[in-house]
């Protein structure tokens, strides 16, 4: 066995990462009704849009169970930055006076919070890529949880599953555009918690529309 093997496969998995991956092996039966599903709606604020060079500043999340937003589960994490110099100044401006948390503590909290929930977000893929990168030092690679992107869901509900995306004006499916269309007031835009909350309200409405179209269980929703 060569040491190169270890380098490629990433760093050693921390206990909390292992525990999380172990517990999320269970699959959700396709026939489970939407009412019985647990979702975590999340959003991150980052220094930029490039997962390779930018990093996560804060993360907001709230849970939905029985098609109800549980405000008591609302969370916001502001990460301590390890970066020094000019970047930190900007960071502090953005973070204001919110207490920050060490990356490792965030990782522990966050994974425990997610559990086996279904992850929901607008452009979810980007947020998860950023979070995966942030957690990589602890031996984390990818989220095993099932996911739903509210943008794709909104498009699917308008055009069906077999849509040709190149023919759609994606600007109509930005979070702002959808909130306007569904009459959701956009306060606190561009804080992680605020955006997660907006996305959660949007998701509740989308779920109702989905149900009307006969998408009533997990098997149909995850398509």
């Amino acid at each position: 066995m060569s040491w190169g093997f270890f380098k490629r496969s990433g760093r050693k998995q921390r206990h909390f990462v292992k525990e999380f991956l172990e517990s999320s092996k269970r699959q959700i039966p396709a026939m489970r009704k939407i009412d019985q599903l647990s979702f975590v709606v999340l959003d991150t604020e980052t220094t930029g849009l490039d997962p390779a060079n930018d990093h996560v500043l804060s993360c907001g999340a709230v849970k939905i169970e029985s098609q109800t937003i549980r405000v008591s589960s609302a969370k916001e994490w502001y990460l301590k930055s390890s970066k020094k110099g000019r970047e930190t100044v900007i960071v502090h401006e953005l973070l204001g006076t919110n207490p920050t948390i060490e990356l490792e503590n965030f990782g522990q909290d966050f994974l425990q919070y997610l559990g086996q929930s279904i992850l929901v977000g607008h452009h979810l893929g980007f947020d998860l890529a950023m979070l995966q990168k942030a957690l990589a030092p602890f031996g984390f690679s990818t989220f095993p949880n099932p996911r739903i992107d509210t943008m794709s869901l909104a498009i699917r509900l308008d055009y069906g599953l077999l849509v040709d995306r190149s023919r759609i004006n994606l600007r109509d499916y930005s979070l702002d555009a959808l909130c306007e269309r569904f009459k959701i007031k956009t306060d606190d835009r561009h804080t992680a918690g605020g955006d997660a909350f907006l996305t959660a309200k949007l998701f509740l409405k989308l779920l109702k529309i989905a149900e009307k179209k006969g998408i009533e269980n997990w098997g149909l929703l995850q398509k």
């Binding site: 405000v71 008591s72 606190d188 909350f197 409405k205």
Partner: protein, 648 residues
């Protein structure tokens, strides 16, 4: 510091009374416990007569109409828009709703939990007064403009009474008719029907010349066996009557009679002088008599369950059963009666779920329809002790199949099991955190595999095996072919008999349960975590008793008695030396069950954690008294199973 989401909710609430009277801390507390629902136009939030939900409502966006059915027409009694609070009856002694609530446009609704709000009512007199004033004027909706309450008062004025809690107000008002219509076997059908019609009764009891019952003929029999079959009206009743009779003694207690009818699904129960068919008929009681005198009764609920295959309706019925349960508990109805009734309701619900599941999946597996299977309830539900809908523990056995069908059978029965579990989840019974359910392939197995499982646990009692034993040994067949479960029980009996040392392991486990009282006779409470400073009534008091009862009955070679009271009852009989102690232990268990269920109903939880400082003096003493049989029994077990010489 509160986060953005909580702040946003608090900011909205602050604009409307009574929230505008709250301090910043209280407002934040309320806001952080709000739940948010989105309802579409036309969707119902609650119906008149529904039990109060554990929260009241405030409209965030949209509009809700409160309506009432008057003379077959739906009329709007109140209209709520942004900032209006409604459904506040939930705050008032949990009365059922008096109006229907329906979204008249797409709306966002904030749900405010009553339990959180109650604590604020206690220390904020201004808010308390605000509500008191509203209630005194009979308001349904709390608004900024109090004069609106006048309209509400009118809406309420005509309906002061609430019938939903009339369950069992007074058993003595149930009429047992002593004038029973009787006739001989040779009576013609037509003559029998004529007599019934003259006397305006729904049944005739057929007796011999000494007045002993031989059979019964009811309205339903006349319809099904006579008219539908086109039988001649001259046929003697003896040929058509139901002769399989279940009878009871005429002075049996009401709950005994009633349970007998529920269990056997009888519409009529005949009472005789000595409770056998070899004595004269003394009276008859019909379900109709009972229905008339009750509102929300077990018979009504079971009947309703048997007549529906709509899952949403099943859930509503089960919710109603909870309301009935609360009434029983608060009125100190005997625990074995309460537990039997609730078990029966749960069992019927499971049987219906099974029927729905088979209907849905059988068409794709027509070659497997002859294969017997049996659905088992485990744990507290298996012991017939589940009052609240805590969580599911269940398993499925199917008959061994030929090799070529193995894979297909596995697939089919797992589908059935998963469907049943999902239906029960929708009925409000949450899934088992340990995944001991029929949606887990491990617990859906042919009989031979189940036998291997148990043999393995008995042969190699590891920690895991003992944990399984505490749940699986309390299995009880609920739906399907009970013969499979009996074969399994027989197998377990033989295995335990062969490997007596297994009992020592089980004993060790029962002995190791944490003690309920500390050195200074204070309750031992949880030291950390979510339930800090609370008393875990399940693992510190109930489980030790259930474990001890299971162990001791197993050691007597009894495998078919599942229920903890019945186990102690049987033990008292088998060991006269300790009979007093066993009787006490059974009583203790009853008290604990009642306390836990009341706690759970009160807080909308599973009742497992109790705050000792919230208990009254009497309740504290009662609870403490239940502990003495635990330690005495543990001592007996320690000596009997020589635990001092026995190490793992």
């Amino acid at each position: 510091m509160a986060n953005v989401i909580v702040n946003r909710v608090a900011e909205f609430l602050k604009g409307f009374p009574p929230f505008s009277y709250l301090s910043k801390e209280d407002l934040e507390l309320i806001a952080s416990n709000v739940e948010i629902n989105y309802v579409e136009q036309g969707e119902q939030l609650f119906l008149k007569g529904d039990p109060a939900q554990p929260h009241f409502f405030i409209v965030k966006e949209g509009a809700i109409a409160l309506t009432e059915n008057r003379g077959g027409k739906e009329e709007i009694a109140e209209f709520c828009d942004q900032g209006d609070v409604f459904g506040v009856l939930a705050l008032l002694g949990k009365r059922p709703y008096v109006l229907n609530a329906q979204a008249s446009e797409d709306s966002l609704i904030y749900l405010i939990p009553v339990t959180v709000f109650e604590s604020i009512l206690e220390h904020n007199s201004r808010v308390a007064l605000y509500f008191a004033a509203g209630f005194a004027s009979g308001q349904v909706v709390v608004r900024q403009d109090l004069s609106q309450g006048q309209i509400a008062r009118k809406a309420l004025g005509n309906h002061p009474r609430d019938h939903s809690l009339l369950i069992f107000s007074d058993p003595s008002i149930i009429k047992i008719s002593e004038n029973v219509l009787t006739g001989s076997e040779s009576l013609s059908i037509q003559e029998a029907a004529k007599q019934m019609s003259i006397q305006e009764v729904s049944s005739i009891v057929i007796v011999n010349d000494q007045g002993f019952p031989k059979g019964i003929l009811t309205d339903k029999d006349l319809r099904n066996r006579v008219v539908a079959e086109g039988v001649s009206l001259n046929t003697p009743v003896g040929n058509l009557m139901s002769s399989k009779l279940i009878v009871k003694k005429s002075d049996a207690s009401f709950s005994d009679l009633y349970l007998c009818m529920i269990r056997n699904r009888l519409h009529h129960l005949i009472l005789t002088e000595d409770g056998t068919i070899h004595s004269p008929v003394k009276g008859i009681i019909s379900d109709h008599d009972i229905l008339l005198s009750m509102g929300n009764s077990p018979a009504v609920l079971i009947h309703a369950l048997l007549n529906t295959q709509e899952v949403s309706e099943m859930k509503t019925i089960r919710d109603r059963a909870e309301q009935m349960l609360r009434y029983y508990l608060e009125n100190e109805v005997a625990m074995d009666f309460v537990a039997s009734v609730m078990t029966e309701i749960n069992d019927v619900m499971i049987s219906q779920a099974k029927i729905i599941a088979v209907k849905k999946h059988s068409k794709n597996y027509s070659d497997l329809q002859e294969i017997k299977f049996c659905f088992l309830s485990l744990g507290s539900e298996g012991r017939e002790e589940q009052l609240l809908r805590t969580d599911q523990d269940n398993a499925l056995i199917y008959a061994d199949v030929p090799k070529k069908l193995e894979e297909k059978a596995k697939e089919y029965f797992l589908k059935l099991g998963t469907e049943i579990v999902e239906i029960l989840i929708q009925c409000g019974i949450s899934p088992c955190p340990g995944d001991m359910m029929t949606s887990n392939p491990k617990w859906v197995q042919p009989l031979s595999v189940w036998k291997e499982y148990f043999s393995e646990w008995i042969l190699r009692p590891t920690e895991q095996a003992l944990l399984h034993a505490s749940i699986f040994f309390d299995f009880r067949p609920v739906a399907g072919h009970f013969s499979l479960s009996e074969q399994l029980a027989e197998h377990i009996y033989l295995e335990v008999h062969k490997k007596q040392v297994f009992l020592n392991f089980l004993a060790k486990n029962a002995y190791l349960n944490p003690a309920p009282l500390g050195f200074f006779k204070g309750f031992i409470v949880e030291k950390s975590g979510e339930h800090r400073d609370q008393f875990d009534i399940k693992s510190r008091a109930m489980m030790p008793l259930a474990d001890l009862a299971r162990l001791l009955t197993l050691s007597h070679g009894l495998v078919k008695i599942n229920n903890t009271f019945k186990r102690f009852e049987k033990l008292a009989e088998l060991e006269p030396l300790y009979s007093e102690l066993f009787i006490q232990a059974g009583k203790a268990y009853e008290i604990l069950m009642r306390m836990r269920a009341l706690e759970g109903l009160h807080h909308g939880t599973n009742g497992r954690y109790i705050q000792p400082e919230n208990l009254g003096k009497l309740q504290k003493r009662l609870l403490r008294n239940t502990f003495s049989p635990i330690s005495e029994l543990q001592e007996i077990v320690k000596i009997r199973f020589q635990l001092d010489y026995f190490t793992k």
